[in-house]
């Protein structure tokens, strides 16, 4: 089966609206998590989030969009998508080729329009511009329509592993001859709906998150989007290739609807499966971009799972300490950060770490450094036990 290469990247997050800005922040150890009150919610300004200061209206103006039903979630996707195709040197007209697939991911979709949804459900609506925007598919359907795409298009929702799954699905479309190019990624915006859902589960922290730290107290939500252009060997372009997607594995922890087994069974199987699919030994992984949400449950389970897979644990970090947990976008954003590590041969610090988890004792990377990076593993573990692990490799 064909090899799969990453030839274009577009990303927007709390630490930057371009790839360059994101990398600068990571290298400088500068977090984008703040108490900025950008959301209309009683928790705005109280719970720290990885929010983006650009308003939804500003993006509408930038992209020339009048339709109020095009949500913030979609606008974030559009931002990253348009950057990705430009970065890959793809003319917009070339997206109409039926061999170009679009695989998106989101958990919020149009639910970011929480107040509008409430209004529309409680009155007999005569018609509202938002009705066809609330679901997850509305994002990729907008992109498909805007760019006149005629190839395969779909959206995945497996909670926090959604866009990692979009990446592996797009890669497999190429390897199975069902697409020549796959534009894959995910998006999620901060929403009153999501903040309240996570708050009800008591897994939000009232301070900037501390992945893998003994005193971690939960996650910070974030918003953002990232898209990657994947191409197979046949259409291997002459422009620069960022990295190769060499391994992937999707498993299910099958323990609890919203928590991982403490031994990290699902994560362990996902990491082992990814290694096997890449034909790599654990010792060949130079860095792990962990899921690392800073919840009590995830970090313990993930740490235990890493120790089961790796006899010698490679350097690892959680970049959620910069962006917050971007849910449906997390897999794609962190895939981009994994690729940045390869491209620039460097490791990023996991912020806000002081003391390791007792009885486990693992310590993430605590300061930026240059490093020989050939293979990076990126983990995404979600509600419903959905675990996906990806491996990116240097082609140089």
């Amino acid at each position: 089966m064909s090899r799969v290469f990453v030839t274009g990247i577009g990303i927007i997050s709390a630490v930057g609206s371009t790839l360059r800005e994101n990398r600068s922040a990571l290298a400088a150890g500068k977090s984008g998590i703040s108490f900025a009150a950008t959301l209309s919610s009683r928790y705005a300004g109280i719970l720290p989030c990885g929010s983006i200061s650009t308003s939804t209206d500003q993006w509408r103006e930038q992209f020339g969009i009048d339709d109020p039903g095009i949500t913030r979630t979609t606008l974030l996707a559009l931002h990253a998508f348009s950057d990705a195709i430009a970065d890959a040197g793809l003319a917009e007209t070339s997206l109409r080729d039926p061999r170009v697939a679009l695989v998106g991911a989101t958990t919020v979709g149009g639910m970011c329009l929480t107040d509008e949804l409430y209004r529309d459900t409680t009155r007999s609506c005569q018609g509202s511009p938002y009705l066809s925007s609330y679901d997850c598919a509305s994002v990729h359907l907008y992109l498909q329509s805007r760019y006149g795409m005629t190839g395969l298009a779909t959206t995945i929702n497996t909670a926090c592993s959604s866009s990692a799954n979009a990446i592996q699905y797009g890669a497999r479309l190429i390897r199975n001859g069902l697409a020549r190019t796959a534009i894959v990624g995910g998006t999620d915006s901060l929403a009153k709906f999501t903040i309240n859902g996570f708050h009800a589960l008591q897994i939000l922290s009232s301070e900037p998150c501390r992945p893998f730290d003994r005193d971690r107290s939960g996650l910070n939500l974030g918003e953002g989007a990232a898209f990657l252009v994947l191409e197979g060997e046949e259409s291997r372009p002459t422009k620069t290739i960022y990295a190769e997607l060499t391994g992937y594995c999707n498993t299910n922890d099958a323990f609890h609807p919203s928590a991982l087994s403490l031994a990290g069974d699902g994560p362990c199987l996902a990491m082992q499966g990814a290694l096997q699919s890449a034909g790599l030994n654990p010792s060949q992984i130079d860095f792990i971009n962990t899921h690392g949400t800073a919840t009590e449950n995830n970090d313990e389970a993930e740490a235990r799972a890493m120790l089961r897979v790796f006899a010698k644990l490679p350097p690892f970090a959680s970049t959620k300490s910069y962006t917050g947990h971007t849910l449906g976008a997390a897999g794609a954003i962190e895939a981009v950060y994994s690729i940045l590590s390869i491209r620039h041969q460097e490791l990023y610090a996991s912020l806000n770490f002081a003391e390791p988890i007792p009885d486990i004792g693992v310590r993430p990377v605590q300061a930026y450094r240059q490093h020989n990076v050939r293979h990076v593993m990126s983990n995404s573990f979600g509600f419903g036990g959905n675990c996906t692990s990806l491996i990116f490799s240097n082609v140089n």
Binding site: A200, L201, Q202, H256, S258, A259
Partner: protein
């Protein structure tokens, strides 16, 4: 309200709140563990829901799950806590 009455009320509320359609108040013994296979078989999501129930029905604030674990053992411990801390 007398303790016995409160226990009966709480059992009905637990059944309704958690939608335990197969359970009757009579089948919940006062000292039957709420969690675990030997007891009522509730899980961690139920414990969060019971914290909400205590807040909505009795005005009680339980800050987090660690505190909740000490209260949410069985009907006896819950009623004991309600009697001491209720504001409604």
């Amino acid at each position: 309200m007398e303790t016995t009455q409160l226990k009966e009320q709480l059992k009905r509320q637990i059944i309704e709140f958690l939608n335990l359609t197969d359970t009757t108040p009579e089948s919940i013994q006062d000292d039957k563990p709420l969690f675990g296979d030997e007891g009522l078989g509730l899980d961690s999501i139920d414990s969060l829901e019971l914290i909400v129930l205590l807040n909505r029905e009795y005005g009680i604030v339980i800050k987090d799950l660690k505190e909740g674990r000490k209260v949410l053992v069985d009907v006896n411990t819950m009623v004991d806590y309600i009697e001491k801390h209720r504001t409604k």
